[in-house]
Amino acid sequence: MDLYVPIIVLGVLAFAFAAGSVAMAAVTGPKRWNRAKLEAYECGIEPTPQPVGGGRFPIKYYLTAMLFIVFDIEIIFLYPWAVAFDRLGIFGLVEMVLFILTVLVAYAYIWRRGGLEWD
């Protein structure tokens, strides 16, 4: 049973901390419930520019953010390869080219379908 003492303690700790912070926020935080809390950014600042006539949501921000994430994350695989590319040899190079080509396919899709145009 001794084996489980650490995990139980850990579990209790983790839960207590998590519940505690939520409870603490509820107790100490200002209790003003308003629409801003449900806004997309939830930081108290209204998104600018204001949606035209309360109408369309400016989706472009999100689209750009998404595209950024997709292409940004590729660097994760490029980085380790860059460190050891000389030792990985020709196989590593071919794999990397294939990988970049695959990413390019996604790029081509976005480009052709107008994802890169701001308007």
Partner: protein, 99 residues
Amino acid sequence: MSPGHYLALSAILFTIGALGVLVRRNAIVVFMCIELMLNATNLAFVSFSRMHGNLDGQIIAFFVMVVAAAEVVVGLAIIMTIFRTRRSSSVDDVNLLKY
């Protein structure tokens, strides 16, 4: 600090994330909590990697980051679509399908 501390931190972060999923209503915040859970896992992987002295855990962390990014994109797309339709990003408002 020993790797054990990092593990404890990872467990705490994971629990915060899970609890956040349970208590927050804004779909995007819920989603951020899930990302927090994934990153807590990454911390665990890296700590274990350190403990075992092999690199597997760090490599896995790379993969997890990529998957998390892909998940973000898909998630944002879905949440945006429904936000545009319903003008609300509260997960409590999507309850037409029930019982």
